[in-house]
Symmetry: C2
C-alpha cells in the first residue's frame, strides 16, 4: 500500500500503526486545538462532537491531494467535564486526585480525509475505572513514572506504570492508547490498500 499520512505528532499513534505493519508518513497539522475547543464549547458541542471535530480539523489541515490522511483526537471526559494534557507535574497530581476512585472516559475520534473531504469517521469511548488512591500512593506513582506521563491526557500510560492505577478498563484498548486501530484498518482494506 502507498499513501497513508498520519496527521499527528503523537508517538503512540505512530507506534500503533508501525506495530500493525502499516507503512505511513507523518505530517504534523498546524491547527490551534485550544481555539477549536473553545469554539466548540461556545457552540454547545458535546465532548464526543468536539473530539470528532478536532480529528477532522487535523486531517483537513494537511495539503496532500490524492493521499489518504488520518486524523485523530483523544479527550478525557469526567462526566461532562473535558480534560487536556496536564502541563506540569503539579497539574498531573491534581488530575489524578480528581480521577481516583471514579470512572472516566477516553473519547477517541478518528477521521480519514481524501481530496479535502472527510470520507470516514469513527468514535470509540472506552471507560476506565481508576481505583481509590491515597495522596501518598499518587506521589509514589508520579515519582516513579516521571515526566513522560505529561504526554497523556490522564497523566498515565496504561501500557506502562499506569496499569497500576486501575481496577478495570472496559472498551477498545487501542482507543485507550490513542488510536482506534481496527476501524482504520477496515477502511484501508475496503479501499484496497492492504494485502490482508
Amino acid at each position: 500500500m502507498t499513501g497513508l499520512i498520519l496527521a499527528s505528532g503523537s508517538a503512540i499513534r505512530a507506534r500503533i500503526l508501525t506495530a500493525a505493519g502499516i507503512p505511513f508518513e507523518i505530517m504534523r497539522p498546524g491547527v490551534d486545538e485550544d481555539v477549536l475547543k473553545r469554539e466548540a464549547a461556545a457552540a454547545g458541542q458535546t465532548i464526543e462532537e468536539t473530539a470528532s471535530l478536532l480529528a477532522d480539523a487535523k486531517a483537513l489541515d494537511i495539503n496532500a491531494p490524492g493521499r489518504v490522511i488520518l486524523g485523530s483526537d483523544q479527550i478525557l471526559a469526567l462526566g461532562d467535564r473535558a480534560f487536556d494534557k496536564p502541563q506540569s507535574s503539579a497539574e498531573a497530581r491534581e488530575r489524578l486526585k480528581s480521577l481516583q476512585g471514579r470512572e472516566h472516559r477516553l473519547v477517541n475520534a478518528v477521521s480519514i480525509v481524501q481530496n479535502r473531504a472527510v470520507v470516514f469517521r469513527h468514535l470509540e469511548t472506552p471507560r476506565l475505572f481508576m481505583r481509590p488512591m491515597t495522596d501518598a500512593e499518587i506521589d509514589a506513582y508520579l515519582d516513579e513514572a516521571g515526566d513522560e506521563i505529561l504526554s497523556s491526557v490522564g497523566a498515565y500510560q496504561v501500557e506502562a506504570l499506569g496499569s497500576r492505577l486501575f481496577d478495570r478498563i472496559e472498551g477498545d484498548y487501542f482507543a485507550v492508547l490513542g488510536l482506534s486501530l481496527m476501524p482504520v484498518l477496515g477502511y484501508l482494506r475496503r479501499e484496497g490498500m492492504l494485502a490482508y
Copy 2:
C-alpha cells in the same frame, strides 16, 4: 516489594509485569501440560476449569516457601473446542481457517500460591471476533508474521500484525496478551507488596 515468582517461561507474561514496574523472578514449572489437559478432559472439566487447574499446577510446582508464586494459563476456546499452540506453520494456517469469520474466546486463568496453598484465583474470558479472510489473505499474513506466531494459541499476536485479523476484541486486553494483570496487582497490593 520482594518475593514474586513468575511460574512461567512465557516472554509476554514477563513483559507485562516488567512494563508495570513489578520486580519478579522467573522459575519455569516442570508440569506436563498435555497430561493434565487429557486428564481434565477425561474428567469432564470445562475449558475454564482446565485453565484454572493448569494455572494452579504451574504455581504449585515451584518449591519456594514464603514466596508469592504466580501461575497462569491461556486456552483458546472455539465453542466447546479447546486449542493448544500450533506446532507448525501448516497447523497455524488451519487454525486461522477455523477461526476466520467467527468469534472465539481466550480463557486466561491466574493462580497465586503461597506456602503450597492457592491463595488467589482469577479467570478472565475476552471474546475476539476474527474477520472473514480468504486463503490468500491468511497466506499473506503468515508470510509476513513469521514463526513468532507459533508461540501463541491463536497463531496471532494482537500487539503486532495480529491486530489486522480482527474486527473487534471485547474484554481485558492484558488477558488477551496472556496475563490478566489488574487482579494480580490488586492481590499484591492487598498483601502490602506494592507502594501503589
